[in-house]
Amino acid sequence: MTQDIPLTWFLYFASASFAIGLMGVLVRRNPIAVLMAIEIMLNAANINLVAFWRYGTPPPGEGPITGVMLAIFVITIAAAEVAVGIGLILLCYRRWHASDVDRYDTMSG
């Protein structure tokens, strides 16, 4: 049989993507760019879910596709989050006339 991809390679890829997404969240000032970085982090988590599903042994009575179902739910939540996030960003843009998270400081003490 040909050589297969080790499980840890998928995990390394996912953690590297997650770290890049974290850097994007920290470094960006545009809220839409922050939202994009959050999407990167969510996708990295999805890779982990599916990789563990494919390589692991499912516990008895849990169904054959646990990881895939969990990933589908994560995608659903991410889509809802983007819709609400864009609404919030448009509201903030209309209010402060800027797309800059440093300006949204009304609630800072």
Binding site: D4, W9, M23, R28, E39, I75, T76, S99
Partner: protein
């Protein structure tokens, strides 16, 4: 053969993610993000979850990326200050934080030893798992996972309607709430020529005054037979 493909896809994906995070132009960042989503779909194919790859392309590339594009177009910076550039003083701490996070995660992945006192499959260290459970013709075709992978769409539908039905309903409720919330948030409370307000007036939902308590229902809330007729 599959290992070089994985390495190539991973390198492209990480470069696309870096481009999303670091590119100055936001539209370029969104395009890099599309490339990243596509490499994630390729990873799903490598993990034999083709249905999930199709969902990834449809939902992320088809919907999320387009919504983000619209957001970028609707929020052009009118004050003239440059928010897409990365401040030089912030690059180093952010890079340090992400590198530290990756180091911690990689250390944990490579040194994982498995749970103690469990079954043999649960206690396996992650670094020793170099072969996925086979589903090919040389494997036992009767394993539930092999059947599920061969009929992924059907299995997803069955599971969605049986085992995960509560999660399915809650997800539907959440999507409804998200749609309503997005409309309410983006609703402009201002000029009367607003398209949203015109639509609300046309369907009789504006102005949104609640009916006073203790009175008979107004003709607008009458029988359903007259609800569809245009009122003069």
């Amino acid at each position: 053969m599959i290992v070089p493909i994985f390495v190539l896809i991973s390198v492209i994906g990480l470069l696309a993610a870096l481009g999303t995070v670091l590119s100055r132009n936001l539209v370029h960042a969104a395009l890099y993000l599309v490339a990243f989503f596509f490499t994630i779909a390729c990873q799903f194919v490598l993990l034999e979850a083709e249905f999930l790859a199709a969902i990834q392309v449809l939902v992320y590339i088809g919907a999320v990326a387009i919504i983000l594009m619209f957001g970028i177009m609707l929020t052009r910076n009118i004050l003239g200050d440059d928010t897409t550039s990365v401040p030089a003083g912030w690059k180093l701490p952010a890079g340090l934080a992400s590198l530290t996070l990756f180091g911690v995660l990689a250390y944990g992945i490579s040194n994982h030893t498995g749970a103690h006192g469990s079954a043999a499959t649960v206690g396996t260290a992650w670094s020793s798992v170099s072969q996925r459970p086979g589903i090919g013709p040389d494997a036992d075709p009767k394993t539930p996972r092999a059947v599920a992978i061969a009929n992924m769409g059907k299995t997803v539908g069955d599971e969605m309607m049986t085992r995960y039905v509560v999660g399915f309903e809650v997800a539907g409720l959440l999507l409804t709430a998200a749609i309503v919330g997005a409309v309410v948030l983006a609703y402009r409370d201002g000029a009367d020529d607003d398209p949203a307000r015109r639509v609300l007036k046309a369907v009789g939902l504006f102005p949104p005054t609640p009916p006073p308590p203790g009175r008979a229902p107004t003709p607008a809330a009458g029988p359903a037979a007259t609800a569809g007729e245009p009122r003069v």
